[in-house]
Symmetry: C2
Subunit: 560 residues, 2 copies
């Protein structure tokens, strides 16, 4: 065991330790090639046999106990998480804090942080990501049991894939901050007099960043928001969804430890736990000390923020209606399998899940049948169903699917291709599961399919492909879309379709089949959300996601 370094030495060493990581991430976002510093498989071949067990043990040891976070202004302890896999309450309680105390604590902690070298802030965020990767088996259990993601998806999608989004935001923060020289010599002749000024340029953070997290995929958007605000010098208050607190509590715990380890006040990151009955988000949104808001969640509240927040930075990701247009296919089963897998992944509780599949009339019967067969192949194989579909987080999603199913009998032109049904989870017999409902619809029912239904339901719409592209891109413009999909063997059709997607701000995946999930969005390579349609105003991640989180204040004086 080494003796503890003095803090200054430890900080310098940390900057050195993470310099390559940050520079590699900067290179990755420039080239957009595949890259990650992490392994996104939970395989024991990679991680050894002990880490998965230790992660599970850590999770289980936390059940039915107060979560240990030494937050300021604690009012009481609350907790309402129920595992979608066991149906049982996790029994974990979290400190609920006076929002004013969280604000005050952030402001008290802030001066040291704003004065810190931006390179140190970047390195500390990289260290937080590294520590979170170290506890990712615990995180995977936590995400599983609050969100319902399968174990493998919770490990990868809510672990490395999400941490990569965070490091991607760090890369842009580094680029934006390094773009500003900290000093300059200005020499010019004025009216025959040689003038020489020394100028300094300070990066000044804006204020407290509030990160409002969603319930189904909390870490994926939280990491980039957290690191973007924090690296640029702003304290952060994490506001988890009241039914999915544990992942963000783990984040707060790890990040606060890193801050403390390197001599900073841990209250630079706090957790604003609330309850469904007494939500706290709006109090924080309205507080003048909160200057940056990152929101992921429902279009309803996201839209409210978009219509009401002024004088602050607001970054949103909400939802939309993702579409597939099938014009023609080289391999019908491969295309149907790709769509079936995307519609089954996490039971379509993802912002990239397809909901509407437009199929050209000559293909629709065959494609619909193949789609059902491919979904059945997943649903009927317990190992696959477990790994792909996971569980249904909320009763509300069961109801969403049931509501759609109920509408079928009352409508002409709608019929059931595949009934939704629970699948039997071998490990968790009480798991709340539901395989996708698949409906065949004609174009007369857009009221039914053209609104987001948050749950496993897929509409197969018979429509000429050009008309389908027109409608799909109209939906993207008016309802929002994060991921759109197109299948065609006709390059002319593709060429005339792609501009419509581009104008609708719809990121498009063309003819993708095979082992990669078509709705997988890779940090460093795939831009997530265009900001051009109602699915959100921010992109993970680009320069615009970070460039305004800090400001520049200058001084100048005659050179010595």
């Amino acid at each position: 065991m080494n003796a503890p370094f003095p803090v200054a030495d430890a900080r310098r060493a940390l900057i050195d330790r993470h310099a390559d990581l940050i520079n590699a991430a900067i290179n990755a976002v420039a080239t957009r090639a595949a890259w990650s510093p992490f392994k996104d498989s939970p395989s024991t071949k990679i991680h050894g046999p002990d880490k998965p067990l230790a992660g599970k043990a850590a999770f289980e040891a936390q059940l039915n106990r107060p979560f240990d976070l030494d937050l300021p202004g604690v009012i009481d302890h609350v907790g309402a998480e129920v595992s979608p896999f066991t149906g049982e309450a996790l029994g974990i309680t979290y400190p609920r804090c006076d929002p004013e105390a969280l604000i005050e604590a952030a402001q008290t902690a802030w001066p040291d942080w704003r004065a810190a070298d931006p390179e140190l802030r970047l390195a500390l965020c990289a260290e937080m990501a590294t520590r979170l990767y170290d506890v990712n088996f615990e995180m995977a259990q936590a995400v599983m049991h609050v969100a319902g993601q399968s174990y493998t998806q919770a490990f990868s999608g809510s672990g490395p894939n999400a941490l990569d989004r965070g490091i991607e935001a760090l890369a842009y923060a580094a680029k934006a901050m390094r773009d500003v020289t900290r000093s300059a010599r200005y020499e010019r002749d004025f009216a025959g007099e040689a003038v020489s000024l020394d100028k300094t340029y300070a990066l000044v953070p804006r204020g407290i960043g509030l990160v409002v997290c969603c319930a189904s995929f909390p870490t994926w958007n939280a990491y980039p928001a957290l690191f973007a605000s924090l690296a640029t010098g702003n304290p952060v208050i994490l506001k988890p969804h009241p039914i999915a607190v544990l992942p963000m509590a783990i984040v707060a715990r790890e990040c606060r430890r890193v801050l403390a380890d390197f001599g900073f006040d841990p209250n630079l990151i706090t957790l604003a736990v609330d309850t469904l009955a007494q939500p706290v988000a709006q109090v924080l949104v309205d507080h003048p000390a909160v200057q940056i808001i990152d929101f992921t969640g429902s279009p309803r509240y996201g839209g409210h923020l978009e219509r009401t927040v002024t004088g602050k930075l607001l970054f949103t990701e909400t939802a939309g209606v993702n579409t597939v247009v099938v014009h023609s296919v080289a391999d019908l089963d491969a295309a149907a399998r790709a769509v079936a897998r995307a519609a089954s992944l996490f039971s379509a509780q993802m912002c990239t899940s397809p909901q509407v599949v437009y199929v050209a009339p000559d293909l629709v019967e065959a494609f619909g049948a193949a789609l059902v067969a491919q979904i059945d192949a997943i649903a009927d194989d317990p190992a696959m169903a477990v790994g792909i579909m996971g569980a249904i987080q909320g009763e509300v999603s069961l109801k969403a699917v049931a509501d759609v199913r109920g509408a079928v009998e009352r409508r002409d032109g709608v019929h059931v291709l595949r009934e939704a049904a629970p699948y039997a989870h071998p490990q968790f017999p009480k798991a709340r599961t539901l395989t996708p409902l698949v409906l065949a619809v004609d174009g007369s029912a857009p009221d039914l399919y053209a609104e987001e239904h948050f749950g496993p339901v897929l509409f197969v719409v018979t429509m000429d492909a050009d008309a389908a592209v027109a409608e799909a891109t109209y939906l993207a413009r008016t309802k929002g879309s994060i991921s759109s999909y197109l299948y065609s063997t006709d390059e002319d059709f593709i060429d005339r379709s792609t501009p419509l997607y581009e104008q609708a701000g719809a990121n498009l995946t063309i003819n993708l089949t095979g082992a990669m999930w078509i709705n997988f969005a890779a940090a460093y390579s795939d831009y997530h959300v265009s900001g051009l349609n109602p699915a959100g105003n921010a992109c993970l991640a680009d320069l615009a996601f970070v460039a305004s989180r800090f400001r520049i204040v200058q001084r100048r004086r005659p050179s010595e």
Copy 2:
């Protein structure tokens, strides 16, 4: 004479012609050293004897005539400009257009522009700047006679110095757009399968940019806003102040010619002329096709926009209360002269003009006397007064000064150090002029000096320097400040003061005397407006000023 190139060749040649300019500007904003592609003196030694005369002739030929702009949806012709130098109406009328017709024309013009190579858009903006420099003697006359700036200031401050701000914004637009690779190959193994995707990333503009210009310094903020929006692919509607249309009409004329010369629809830039009785700004602000708003002008309307605009980009520069703190001086006359010149320049109708001069008690009598002497030295020398003070644009500024003067008799602790008075303009006997009112005030009268008075009035406040810094930075935080000034020979005092300015988002000039105007803000080197206080939310110019004016939309498909 060469034969006209085909358009495509001309476009390629234009990109080549301006490549060095744009790259030099990118280098300048990185190093922040002094640089400009232009000469900011109107001297005939630089420009020859003909250009000044030709510019004056062009201006005079325009008087009492309709301004020739072939805009869509013309309703009628209006014009209400009166020269502050002659007191006479310019008699120029401008087409007033149906705002809906301007929007429609912009949308019709847009597809070609959004499809254009970003490098071509950059080159076209550089070409516009170059052409505007070519007509800068005409522009100088126009700015003189609508705004009241002196000839030399109108030439430099509203010409090259403003064009530099535009090219600075272009440099950031180039950086932000070049930061996005247009294509990538993504190769990764998924579940043992090698996946290779080709990805393309399109830069997609947001929508129409509205540039709302101020009356007193219209080009300086308009150029960066215009070029930032235009280069990133957005059509622009210029909305000049109804009493200062001519400069923006010249801008529209020149820029539309450039667009037409290179095969683009000139309606990518239009002019929305209105009248004081029937303002059109809000109609355009509210229009859903307008997605970017750049506003320069009054805190009243700017604040209204800041409180009400949602779902669109809003960049504002309004105003504030700029302060000088005099703690101690090496050379009292030099410091007093520096402040006197800044307070006299354009009769303090600038967003960087100082208004409140806090002087330490031991210095205040001597400094006040020196300040008055230095202002007198300018006011009493007709050549200097003409060149520095110019004219008063609006009656409202005379009234602002008269109102302050009227309050003196009714207050204790306030007395007149120097009376405001017109100076006799040798060339324009009817010029509306006013030399600065200088009042001595004690700290009990902040209600008098702590609000912006838009006109030549200077308050000399007796206050201990530490208390003065506290109050000056409080005013910056609460009322806004674009430029703050500090004089001290005590490095300890400077060291403890600068963090307060930084926290207030107040750009600070320390101990500057001599030939350079202390309120001169150099493009490429000085950041103008921090965005951290009520003086505005945007900075000229940084990455944040441009990075969100376009978005990124991607496509991906399996590699061939």
